[in-house]
Amino acid sequence: MLVVVEQMLNGLQFGLLLFLLAAGLTLVFGIMDFVNLAHGSLYMMGAYFAATFVAWTGNFILGCVMALGATLLLGILLEFVALRHLYNRDHLDHVLATFGLILFFNDAVRLIWGPAGLALPLPSWLTVPVQILPGVNYPAYRLSIIAVALLVAALLYVVVMRTRIGMLIRAGASNREMIGALGINIKLLFTLVFGLGAALAGLAGLMQAPILTVQIGMGENILILAFVIIVIGGIGSIRGAFMAAIFVGMIDTLGRAFLPDLLRKVLSSTAASTAAPAMSSMLIYLLMAIVLVVRPEGLFPAAKR
């Protein structure tokens, strides 16, 4: 039972991280109709920046804030130098150009930080276990990830649903000509949205960094998960991304944790240990396939274009 609670929290935490990544992706796609494969690179850069700045300043929080700022700036720079020239192209061009960026970032990281991964050690006050239920301890750091991510999700919700800029973003997601007609500086809005997406990706990366190693290519697998999430949730929909992210995070985590035991009950133990990892990695894609068959536009499609 205790294990179940712990794994549910792990699932929630992973789901929230995925949401941060997917939110940026879906915003950029929803409002600019731009497919950004290099989103995973920004996630990676967030983690590398954090590892560097924390080591440099000796202060975890300060280092993370600096890393966040650096990813934001990098995102804006990227948009300004390269990506804004691609908005009028088709999706295939987006995919290829940002694929090129991934190649670039991976090797740039290898050149700067070396091929070996980095570690981002936690300060001692974040490593203590916290008692969340009688007899159930949970790492403070993972709890704080949940807290921060929920806070950011709430902020994002308020910004998108309640503010003027959020109104423009939503209007842009459903009708791009309209915001142009309103006399809004679209270029600036696009740069801002892209920067926001980059910062969210960076945040996800730097928060994940202490749990996993910081390494080259760390953004790629999780990027594909984020794509699965926005396909399931419906492209352009923040709400859909949130629901789908939690869902995917839970299924992935719980599947990995409990599927081997479940399988062992029906199969021989060697067969189970062979099949379980494959099956738990496949669960997500299976889920996506089912969603696509039933609702090709995703579960929570954004307003019709």
């Binding site: 497919v35 295939l92 290829l96 694929f99 090129g100 970032f105 790629e220 894609y285 696509l292």
Partner: protein
């Protein structure tokens, strides 16, 4: 128009002649590595040509085409591992397995369009990648060594470098001939019509998605053959051959050479892989140059090399 056609034809003829004569050059100069390198280029050119069939002619932007390289390769590898060495069994199995995978993936993915399709095919290929990574009997992440190449009795000996090279070249040229016939056939015109305007094709009486699916399966099958060749070439198959960056490479080859042109993918594959080779000799960090180069190609060289040739000869 006429001269553009001629310049392209000349380039293609030179490339084909070069590929046919390459083993002679290699034998005369004793540069074995050239033969090995071009064997790989030819195999990946076949994979790119198969991708071009759905991407260039069918308008289906598959980002998971490397999956078939893996499936074809694993068909050969697993059968060899289990003691079935005959190519007459291995290769048909590779083709059928790829066709079946394409059928399932296509039937699901073709319910979607545009960027959804790109992402779905990507996700399914990743799924195949994870399945391969968990095949602990067949080496899991580390891959599977193939100790004996596919055996075709006394007919051909694949362990002979030159013979294997010509088998690959024959597969490439045969594949392109097949694609040429398909593209100009009734079926091919329907597929291209659907790319151009699906609603219209539907209105004049074509079940658009069924044609798309058949095209998707043909393309996957051809790529499965490339997979079987690739496994024989490296004597090894691992999940890495279907990693998504490999799918990206194939897309780049198609675009670079010229999407929707018959020989574009071949030229794209040659240029891309030679460039990779060249850059990696200059610097360990070749991808730092290749990445921005891709960006520049997308920004400034629409229509790929074939497009440039056409423009160049038009003045």
């Amino acid at each position: 128009m006429k001269s553009a056609f001629n310049l392209r034809t000349i380039v293609v003829a030179l490339v084909v002649a070069g590929l046919v004569l390459l083993p002679v050059y290699s034998a005369l100069t004793g540069k074995v590595f050239i033969l090995t390198m071009f064997t790989r280029i030819i195999i990946l050119a076949l994979a790119a040509a198969s991708l071009n069939l759905i991407m260039g002619y069918g308008g289906m932007m598959s980002f998971g085409h490397a999956a078939y390289l893996g499936i074809g390769g694993y068909a050969v590898g697993i059968l060899a591992f289990e003691g079935i060495g005959s190519g007459f069994i291995q290769w048909p199995v590779a083709l059928i397995a790829s066709a079946l995978f394409a059928l399932v993936i296509g039937a699901l993915s073709l319910r979607t369009r545009g960027v959804y399709f790109i992402m779905i095919t990507l996700a399914f290929a990743q799924m195949a990648y994870y399945i391969a990574s968990s095949l602990s009997r067949y080496g899991a992440d580390d891959g599977l060594t193939i100790y004996k190449r596919s055996n075709f009795g006394g007919l051909i000996d694949l362990s002979n470098r030159t013979q294997f090279y010509y088998v690959c070249l024959a597969c490439l040229l045969g594949g392109i001939y097949l694609i040429w016939r398909i593209v100009n056939s009734r079926f091919g015109l329907v597929v291209q019509g659907v790319r151009s305007n699906e609603q219209r094709m539907q209105a004049i009486g074509f079940h658009a998605n069924r044609y798309r699916l058949v095209c998707f399966v043909i393309s996957g099958t051809i790529c499965g053959l490339a997979g079987a060749l690739l496994a024989n070439n490296t004597d090894f198959v691992s999940p890495a051959v279907m990693y998504w960056t490999r799918s990206g490479d194939l897309m780049v080859m198609v675009i670079l050479g010229g999407m929707g042109t018959l020989f574009g993918p071949v030229i794209g594959a040659i240029v891309f892989l030679l460039l990779e080779e060249l850059l990696s000799q200059i610097t360990e960090y070749w991808a730092m140059i290749m990445g921005p180069l891709l960006l520049l190609i997308v920004l400034f060289a629409r229509g790929g090399i074939m497009g440039l040739l056409a423009r160049f000869s038009r003045g």
